[in-house]
Every structure is written in structure tokens, then in C-alpha cells.
């Protein structure tokens, strides 16, 4: 019986092996791809065997550090499953892209990506606060090394910014977790479910602060732009695709269930910040000079929107937020890989030098259009489905909130259309003219296409997703919703 611990152990062990043994570039690439595919296969097995109403499944619960009451408690519920699934998918694509781009010192790079994957799965499946913290903090280490060693010109500044922001947050969260663990009745106990409702306002604030930075929620988004701009494309895809989801997931699956009273009491703050961040990110994305800037700010907007959805504290909001996270992971992952492809093939990610790429590059045009249209939530797409749920949830809470947030959709359409036309359409850019990049071919296509195809699949039958997630997501917010009287 394969449990989620296996999905953590396999990439972790592979990562250590890759770091220690002298693999050749090719061997390292294929091995890590194999490992990531194996994880994806495991996730598919989970999806197949998953019982939507079965609560926590595929879990382990064994003593880890007995003296402190810390247990290795991991399990999978609907929301976790969704998160693990996108982690696995994005990791596969990121590693594939790294192979395509012939990343130098690739065995280390892939090892670190796999390590990130292991930590992320820990975050998503942890049912013990210390285990959660280990994943949450641990995933930063490989990501920072990836950013620092394989990033662009401004990577040092970017890294300092990321460290400065995230370290502040996670420090507070550690204090909060310690408080929760050591004040447990009957000795130290860090079980997630055991800590429900025991926190006070300060602990809640410390927790929320860390998660808000990670997500990122406006106004804690300062680290996002430099990090997303400087990281290599596959790392940016992992960072924005799944690492940032750790924050959103934790809001939904850890913060709100842990602190139902405070969540209900302070929900308005998060709703306000989320709504404002959604509009703010969309406005800023509108005038970015390059694709990565657009994606970065759209990520800010989208994650703010997700957090808004979580704090609506109704079933629509929670399910929609989970769905939105998955969609955004796919979209931003694909967009970052596309941005990377553009940078290598067309020499630049800047709109000034791009344009007219659709001509005689039908595959690129099709893939970019599918992803772009999904990103701007064209009605009928899976992103539309998730946004629709959150918007409906907002509308149910306050009709004017629904109206305000719905405006963000128009802004979203504006910046994504700008991205599409600036890259694919209009006059041929000077770099495009001189470098004459080829169409999207085998290697790069195989990395990006799965993401686009999953988006299309989810568009055809989003209920396949929501049915699996709904029960878990609704349970997570139910206590807080009761507090809030919804």
C-alpha cells in the first residue's frame, strides 16, 4: 500500500543520490525525469483510489520525536490531493524543461527541484504542525539555491529580498507553532487537529503573516517580482506554480481550520486585502514591459483572489479557491516555461523586441493561445469555472463585493490580451526578425503541452475536479463558517 510518505521519500532519496553520485548530464536528466514521473504516477494512483468523502487517506502517523510530542503525521484529503497533483505535474515539466534547456550542472539543479518537490508534498500532506513547518521552511532552501546559482543577472538582490521577506514570516510562524505545541494540554503535542481552536489572536496573526508573505498577499508581495524575474524559467514555474500555493493552501487547510474564531473575526481584513490585491495586481500587470512581469503581477492578483476565496468562508469560495490554485499553477507554470522558451529562442522576454511570433509558428501560437485564454478566464475555461465559483461566493457574501471583484476580470482580460498580442501578434519584433526562432518543437513542446492539455481537460469537465475537492474544502472552512454565521 503506497502512502504519501513514499511520494516524499522517493524524490528526497533521488535528490540526495543525484547530489552525491557523479551522474552525467544525460543520466541525471533522465533519472530525475523518471523519478518525477514516478511521483506523478503515484499521484494518479491516489486519484484513482481516492474517496471524496473519505477524509484523510493514504496517510502515515508514527512517532517521530517522542519527547516533544512530534509525530510524522501525513495524509491526503481532496485539497491535498489537488495540490500534490499539480506539484507532481509542474515538477515533471520543470525537469523536462531543464533538460531541454541543457541547464549547466544539471544534476544539482534537478536534485534541488526534486528536493523542493519532496518538501512541497510534505507541506501539503502534513497533519502535524512541526512537519508542516519543516516542509514550509525547508522548501525555501533548495529554491533559494536554485535562484542563487542558476538565476539571472540580478539574482543576488532577488535572493536577499526573498530571504528577507520569507525569513521574517516563517520566524513568526515558528513561534506560533511552538506556542501552540507547548501549551497543548497533557504535554507538548503538535498535531494539527489537536490544536484546533486553541490559538489566540496573536498566534493567528503570526501565522497569517507568514502565509501572506508566501502566497503572496498584497501588500507583502515585494519579493515576487525580482524572484520571478531572475529565477530560471523552470524554477520560476515551480516557484509561482506550486511554491506560492503552499501559502494559499495553508490559509485554507491550516490557518482557517486551526483558528476558526479568529478567521471569522478577521475575515474582512483578508477579503479586503484580497479584493484590493486582485485589482492592484491586475492594474500593475497591465503596464509591465516583459512577459515575466505580467505573469508575476498576475500571480499576485490571482493569489490575492484565492485568499479572498478562502476567507469568504463558504463552500463556493473554498472549492473555488482550491480550483483556482490548481488552475493558476498550470497557467503560470506554462506561461513561465513559455517565457523561458522565448528568452532562449527569441533572445528576449521584453515586449519591445517580441511580436509577430504567431506567423508560421502554428504550434506555438496554438499553445500560447490556449494558455493565454485560460489565463484571462475566457468563459468556458477551467479558470473561468474556478473564478466563477469564487465570484459567486463573494456575491453571496456581499453583492457589492462580487461587483468590485468582477471588475478585476475585465482588467485581467486587458493585461492578458496585451501579453498575447505583444508576443504573438502585431508587427514582427526586431529580435524575432533577426533570430527567426523556430516553432515550438518536441522537447519544449512536451514540457508545456501537458499543462495546456490538463487545462483543456479541466475545462471540459471541471466537476470531475470539484466533486473530489468539495467535501474536503468545505470541511476545512465549516467551523469558521459557523463562527461567522454563514
Amino acid at each position: 500500500m503506497i502512502t504519501v510518505s513514499w511520494l516524499i521519500a522517493v524524490p528526497a532519496i533521488a535528490s540526495v543520490l543525484l547530489l552525491l553520485l557523479p551522474f552525467s548530464q544525460r543520466a541525471a536528466g533522465y533519472l530525475s525525469l523518471l523519478v518525477s514521473l514516478a511521483v506523478a504516477g503515484g499521484v494518479i494512483g491516489f486519484i484513482y483510489r481516492f474517496e471524496p468523502l473519505g477524509g484523510d487517506q493514504f496517510g502515515d502517523n508514527v512517532a517521530w520525536i517522542t519527547q516533544l510530542g512530534i509525530r510524522w503525521h501525513v495524509a491526503v484529503n481532496g485539497v491535498t490531493l489537488a495540490m500534490i497533483a499539480i506539484t507532481a505535474v509542474i515538477t515533471c515539466c520543470a525537469i523536462g524543461y531543464g533538460m531541454w534547456a541543457r541547464r549547466e550542472r544539471s544534476h544539482a539543479s534537478f536534485a534541488l527541484i526534486l528536493m523542493t518537490e519532496a518538501f512541497l508534498i510534505i507541506v501539503f500532506s502534513a497533519r502535524d504542525l512541526v512537519v508542516f513547518y519543516v516542509g514550509f521552511e525547508g522548501m525555501l532552501i533548495p529554491l533559494l539555491v536554485l535562484l542563487a546559482a542558476w538565476g539571472g543577472k540580478g539574482r543576488k538582490t532577488a535572493m536577499i529580498q526573498v530571504i528577507a521577506y520569507t525569513a521574517m514570516g516563517t520566524l513568526l510562524m515558528l513561534l506560533a507553532i511552538a506556542w501552540l505545541g507547548f501549551t497543548a494540554p497533557g504535554g507538548p503535542n503538535f498535531d494539527l487537529y489537536g490544536a484546533i481552536g486553541r490559538g489566540n489572536d496573536w498566534v493567528f496573526a503570526a501565522f497569517a503573516f507568514a502565509l501572506a508573505i508566501k502566497s503572496p498577499l498584497f501588500p507583502f508581495h515585494g519579493w515576487v517580482l525580482p524572484a520571478y524575474r531572475e529565477a530560471s524559467p523552470e524554477v520560476a514555474a515551480v516557484l509561482s506554480g506550486v511554491a506560492s500555493k503552499a501559502g494559499g493552501y495553508a490559509f485554507l487547510a491550516v490557518l482557517v481550520p486551526l483558528f476558526p474564531e479568529q478567521s471569522a473575526k478577521y475575515a474582512w481584513i483578508f477579503i479586503a486585502l484580497g479584493a484590493f490585491g486582485f485589482l492592484y495586481g491586475a492594474l500593475l500587470a497591465f503596464r509591465q514591459p516583459d512577459g515575466r512581469g505580467v505573469i508575476a503581477y498576475s500571480s499576485i492578483a490571482q493569489m490575492s483572489f484565492v485568499i479572498l476565496g478562502v476567507f469568504l468562508l463558504n463552500s463556493r469560495g473554498a472549492t473555488g479557491a482550491t480550483f483556482q490554485m490548481v488552475n493558476h499553477a498550470l497557467v503560470s507554470g506554462a506561461l513561465f516555461l513559455l517565457a523561458g522558451w522565448l528568452e532562449t529562442q527569441a533572445g528576449s522576454g521584453s515586449f519591445k523586441h517580441l511580436g509577430g511570433l504567431a506567423r508560421s509558428r502554428p504550434v506555438l501560437a496554438t499553445v500560447a493561445l490556449i494558455v493565454g485564454m485560460a489565463a484571462l478566464a475566457v468563459p468556458g475555461s477551467s479558470v473561468f469555472a474556478s473564478e466563477f465559483l469564487i465570484l459567486l461566493g463573494s456575491f453571496e457574501v456581499h453583492w457589492w463585493l462580487g461587483v468590485i471583484v468582477t471588475l478585476g476580470i475585465v482588467l485581467g482580460a486587458m493585461y492578458m490580451l496585451r501579453w498575447i498580442s505583444a508576443v504573438l501578434h502585431e508587427r514582427e519584433g526586431d529580435f524575432v526578425g533577426t533570430l527567426n526562432p523556430p516553432d515550438l518543437r518536441r522537447g519544449a513542446l512536451l514540457c508545456i503541452l501537458p499543462l495546456a492539455l490538463i487545462l483543456v481537460g479541466l475545462s471540459i469537465a471541471p466537476a470531475q475536479f470539484t466533486d473530489r475537492v468539495d467535501a474536503a474544502a468545505t470541511t476545512m472552512i465549516s467551523a469558521a463558517a459557523k463562527e461567522a454565521g454563514r
Binding site: 529580498q161 509591465q288 463556493r316 468556458g380 453583492w399 498580442s421 466537476a463
Partner: protein
């Protein structure tokens, strides 16, 4: 029967998929024919399904079928549901039928374009989107179709994507439609919150529970969507710009698909709109103002396609008037006839443009009736139909709408009636201005030079382009005979069940009176046009430069709607974005926290550097002070 409808829906999607996957391997002509045959098959299925539907008794003609749940969360659930009834059948026939003809026409029109396969795929996608829109049995799926139509129009308007103007127009269309989508979405939210359902059956059954305010707000929001999609005031500005796309697209958007969606929505939701009489009045007023305004603007335009575009706007406005007066059948009837003559006009215009090597300015045309007699003949039919001259199709349907106004006999009814007649006058003028300028007047030097060459090359046009035009011409001429007042009543009897609360239907006398007045006014309009434009006349110059100069200018700038949107929405967003990017985000959110942290660290660093100067004595001093302090602390605490 439902299987056939499903097949109708899925066929274009198969076309898209096949063309997308095999596209580059198929020869362009084969791809074109493949897409067209798909459409023919879809039309055949739709026709058979309609025929089967017609054999059923009236009460059993509403078919709802659930395929699978599309989206669900909590008690909210949306199915991929199919809705097939009389109204849908009409729409289905128009979309697939006219769509098929336009597909065939495109084979010829795009034969020199290297990207014609992509074009065909987009066409199929467009038809598919429209089918989703009309076949959905709930509002969310309708919204999905709504958005897909917007997406397809974006792709097709911006088909020549190296033309910045085309891309700009495409983006504009998309944004305007997105605003409409937002209105529609809000309407759906409101209905769900109030009624707890989004399916038609649910809404129609529960609509009575709504208060008038609730119903009005919901209808108003739905109207925003309808107005954006149908290019009515005030969200109409995308329509003329959309002429940047290839001509078959213009035909498809204007005749069979996109712009009719708004009319369809209002007609479809009539059990809801009936509870919001004020909104219905508003629809009539929007229609009347829109038809007069667009008629006026059309008179001064010089681009052949733009003129037709504004004529579309005014004809859709007629349909709005019709559905606003609750004469749904008349609105849909006009939609039906309009599909023929508008498609015909566009395709004819496309042939003219084709013959003139892409020239679209009517001042560079003239005297074409001798060189292009077949096209001239077909265009004349379309023009008479458009101007509402008895017995062409447009005449019957337009007069049906106007006589409904007469029948209602309220202020709104009279506004509709008089406004509609005024519109008929304008329609006569601008339509025949186009005809006279293009076909009659002395040929312009450009036309004289280009036309003989082009005729020698490929006659009046390839047969794939001519045949659809002929077929449409038959439709444009005779479609109106389906509903001759007092004689035939196919349309009314067919559409009656879609409005459970009843429809306005004029008496035979009112109908014939309106037809008489309408045709007379139309003919007066034609006469004015003849006087002004058929011969070399100085009158238009006089209007342009004389006393009417300002009005003329304003009409040429389309009454400044574009400028209004640019300055009230587009520019502010750009400014706000630039300002936030340049002055706020960088300083306040990206650097300020880090700077703060840095300053704090540096401050502590500097503070401790005073002590950490490397002189051991100083360390010892601190140590001693510390010991002294500790003892002092213990002393004080112990005391």
C-alpha cells in the same frame, strides 16, 4: 432527435480538432471543403432535428437533456445540459445554414491566403461557440458559450495579426464583450442568490417569486451582456472596428452568430423579462435611439463594410425594439430574415472588394453594375430587403416589429413606431447611397483601371464565392413569405410556445397599414439617396462643408463614443497602471520593507561598532559593567 442535436453541436468541434491537429498536412482547399462539409452535415442534422420537433405536439417541443455535471460546489451545480425547442431550432438553422454558406464562400475568399486552414478552424470554432450559446439549458453554460463567441470573434477579427489595427479592433471587441460577460455573470449570481438555480427550467418556474426590483436588476444585468454582444448602445463601439477582419467573418458575426446572441438572450429569458416591464421599455428605447443613431452615422461613412456594419447595428436595434415590445416572434423573425440579407450584403461587398483588389472606400468605386451584373443583382435584392421594401423579406419582418408597436398603443409603442419609421427612412438613404455610389455613378479612375483586369482574371468571382451569394439572394428575397399578414403564419405559430406569457401580435389591418407606410417611407429614402448620390451631385459636398459641417463631422467620428471610452476608461487605466508601477509599487512595497530592514540592521551595526572596536580593554570594561549591573540587579531584587 436529441442525438441529432448533440451531433450538430459536436460536429464543428470535431472540425476544429481535426483542422488543428492535421491542419498543416491537409491541402488548403481540402481543409476548406472539409470544414464546409462539416457545416453542411451539422445543418442537415439541425434540419432533421427541427423537422422531428415539428412533428411533435406543441407541449412536447421543449427538450432538456443532461449530459454531465459541468461544475459543482456545495448546493451549486451546473450541468452540461442541452435545451432544444422552437427558438433554439430557428437559431440552429440560421447558424448552421448561413454558417455553411459562409464557409463555402471562405474557400474562395481565402484561397490565396497561406493561413486559410487556420481560418477554417476558427470558423468552425466560432460556429461551435454559438451553438453552445444557443443550446445550453442554463445560464452558466450560456455564459460559457457567450465567452467562447467572444474568444472566436477575437481570433477572427484579429486574424490578420500582423495588422496592428486588426489586433487593436480584436482586443477592443474582446474587452467590450468581457464587460458584457461581467454584466451577465453578475446577473447570474443575482439570480442564483435569489432563486437558487441557474437552469432555464428553474428560473422560468421560479421567476414569479422575484420582486419587481430584483427582477429589474437581474434583467438589467443580463441586458448589459446582451447589449455588449449585440453591439447596441452604449457598448457598440467594437462593431465597426471589427470590420478589420476578413469579410466572411464580418458576415458571420453580423448575420448568423455573435450579434444576434443578445436578441436571443432576451427572447430566451422572456419569462423573466416579463417581470421587469421597465427594463423592457429600456430595451425599446435603446433600440430606437440606436437605430436612428447608427442610421445617421451610416450615411456619412465611406468604407463599404463600415456602412454595412452600422446597418447591422440599426437592424439589431430593430430586433431589440421587437423583443422589447414583447413581440418576440417579430424580433426573431427579423433575426431570421436579417441573417439572409445581411450575409448577402457582406458577401456581395466581399466580392466587390475582391474584384477591386481589396479596395473598400466607396468613393473609389462606381459604375460597377455593368461589369459585375450578377453581384449587382444580388446586392439589389439585399438592399431592398434591408430597406424593408415589400415584398422582400426584410419588409415583412421589420413591419411586423413596427406594427407590434402600433398594437401595443402605449407611449413606448408609439416611440417605437415613429422611431422605427424614421429608421426606415434612414435605412433607405444609406443603403441606396451605398448601392448608387458603388454600382451606379460614373466609375472612379481606380475602378476603371482595376476592374477589367480583375474580370479577365476570374470573372465576377470564383464559383465557391458566387453560389453562396445566389442561395442567400433567394433567401433574402423570399424568406419573408413565411409570414405574410393574414395569409401565412409559420413564424408566429412556431414561436408561440416559447413565450408562456404570450406575445404581442398585431392585427392583420395594422400589419398591412404598416407595410404600406414602411414601404413608402423606404422608397422616399431611396429617392433621396438617388437624388443625392446616384448622379454627380454637389449636394453631399454642400452638406459636408456647409451648415451641417459640425454634425457631419460628429457623425464621421461616430458621435465620439470611441473617444469617450478612450478617455474615461482606457487612458485612466493606463495612467493608473503606469503611476502605480513607477511611483508606488517599486518604492512602497518592493523596496521600503527591505530598506527598513536594512536601515534597522545598519543602525544596530553602527551602535555596536562603538563597543566592538577591537580594544580588549573596552570588552573588559563592558564585562565589568555587566557584572556590576548583575550584582546590582540581584541586590535590588533581593532587597
Amino acid at each position: 432527435m436529441t442525438e441529432l442535436v448533440w451531433i450538430t453541436l459536436v460536429l464543428p468541434l470535431i472540425g476544429v480538432a481535426v483542422l488543428a491537429i492535421l491542419g498543416m498536412k491537409l491541402p488548403p482547399r481540402a481543409a476548406g471543403w472539409f470544414a464546409s462539409l462539416i457545416m453542411l452535415a451539422a445543418f442537415a442534422c439541425a434540419a432533421i432535428a427541427t423537422a422531428i420537433l415539428a412533428t411533435r405536439p406543441a407541449e412536447e417541443r421543449q427538450v432538456v437533456q443532461v449530459a454531465w455535471t459541468w461544475l459543482s460546489a456545495g448546493n451549486f451545480s451546473v450541468g452540461l445540459d442541452l435545451w432544444f425547442d422552437e427558438l433554439t431550432a430557428v437559431m440552429l438553422l440560421v447558424i448552421t445554414g448561413v454558417g455553411f454558406l459562409i464557409h463555402v464562400y471562405s474557400i474562395g475568399y481565402m484561397k490565396d491566403d497561406p493561413q486559410s486552414r487556420r481560418f477554417m478552424a476558427y470558423l468552425n470554432l466560432f460556429v461551435f461557440s454559438m451553438l453552445v450559446l444557443v443550446l445550453s439549458a442554463n445560464l452558466v453554460l450560456l455564459l460559457a458559450g457567450w465567452g467562447l463567441v467572444g474568444l472566436s470573434s477575437y481570433l477572427l477579427i484579429g486574424f490578420w495579426h500582423n495588422k496592428p489595427k486588426a489586433i487593436k479592433a480584436a482586443k477592443k471587441a474582446f474587452i467590450m464583450n468581457a464587460i458584457g460577460d461581467v454584466g451577465l455573470a453578475l446577473g447570474i449570481f443575482l439570480l442564483f442568490v435569489d432563486l437558487g438555480t441557474v437552469s432555464y427550467t428553474g428560473i422560468f418556474a421560479e421567476a414569479g417569486r422575484l420582486s419587481e426590483t430584483q427582477a429589474s436588476v437581474a434583467c438589467l444585468l443580463l441586458l448589459v451582456g446582451a447589449v455588449a454582444k449585440s453591439a447596441q448602445l452604449p457598448l457598440h463601439t467594437w462593431l465597426p472596428d471589427a470590420m478589420e477582419g476578413p469579410t466572411p467573418i464580418s458576415a458571420l458575426i453580423h448575420a448568423a452568430t455573435m450579434v444576434t446572441a443578445g436578441v436571443y438572450l432576451i427572447a430566451r429569458m422572456n419569462p423573466l423579462f416579463i417581470h421587469a416591464p421597465k427594463v423592457l421599455d429600456l430595451i425599446v428605447i435603446i433600440g430606437v435611439v440606436g437605430l436612428i443613431m447608427s442610421g445617421l452615422i451610416a450615411i456619412v461613412q465611406t468604407d463599404i463594410k463600415r456602412i454595412i456594419a452600422f446597418s447591422t447595428m440599426s437592424q439589431i436595434a430593430y430586433m431589440f425594439v421587437g423583443v422589447g415590445l414583447t413581440a418576440y416572434w417579430a424580433g426573431i423573425f427579423h433575426l431570421f430574415t436579417h441573417a439572409f440579407f445581411k450575409a448577402l450584403l457582406f458577401l456581395g461587398a466581399g466580392l466587390v472588394i475582391h474584384a477591386l483588389n481589396g479596395e473598400q472606400d466607396i468613393r473609389n468605386m462606381g459604375g460597377l453594375r455593368k461589369q459585375l451584373p450578377k453581384i449587382y443583382f444580388c446586392m439589389m435584392i439585399a438592399a431592398f430587403a434591408l430597406a424593408g421594401i415589400f415584398p422582400f423579406s426584410g419588409g415583412f419582418s421589420k413591419d411586423a416589429i413596427l406594427s407590434a408597436g402600433l398594437n401595443v398603443d402605449t407611449t413606448i409603442g408609439w416611440i417605437a413606431y415613429i422611431g422605427g419609421l424614421l429608421g426606415a427612412l434612414l435605412t433607405g438613404i444609406y443603403t441606396f447611397r451605398l448601392i448608387f455610389m458603388v454600382f451606379h455613378r460614373r466609375a472612379s479612375p481606380y475602378a476603371e483601371r482595376v476592374i477589367p483586369e480583375s474580370i479577365k482574371h476570374h470573372g465576377e468571382g470564383p464559383s465557391t464565392m458566387l453560389w453562396p451569394v445566389y442561395i442567400l439572394a433567394i433567401g433574402a428575397a423570399f424568406a419573408g413569405l413565411l409570414q405574410i399578414p393574414g395569409l401565412t403564419h409559420v413564424v408566429t405559430s412556431w414561436l408561440e410556445p416559447i413565450a408562456p406569457d404570450g406575445m404581442v401580435e398585431a392585427t392583420v389591418g395594422q400589419d398591412w397599414l404598416t407595410t404600406l407606410i414602411g414601404t413608402t417611407i423606404g422608397l422616399i429614402g431611396i429617392g433621396i439617396a438617388y437624388h443625392l448620390y446616384a448622379r454627380e451631385s454637389t449636394s453631399p459636398e454642400l452638406i459636408r462643408n456647409g451648415r451641417g459641417r459640425l454634425i457631419h463631422r460628429a457623425l464621421e467620428r461616430r458621435l465620439y463614443w470611441d473617444d469617450l471610452y478612450e478617455w474615461s476608461f482606457e487612458k485612466p487605466v493606463q495612467w493608473a497602471s503606469s503611476f502605480l508601477n513607477r511611483d508606488v509599487d517599486r518604492t512602497a512595497f518592493r523596496w521600503a520593507p527591505l530598506d527598513g530592514l536594512g536601515q534597522l540592521t545598519a543602525f544596530f551595526g553602527r551602535s555596536f561598532a562603538i563597543i566592538e572596536n577591537g580594544i580588549v580593554r573596552m570588552y573588559a570594561l563592558v564585562l565589568a559593567l555587566g557584572i556590576a549591573g548583575m550584582i546590582l540587579f540581584l541586590l535590588v531584587r533581593g532587597a
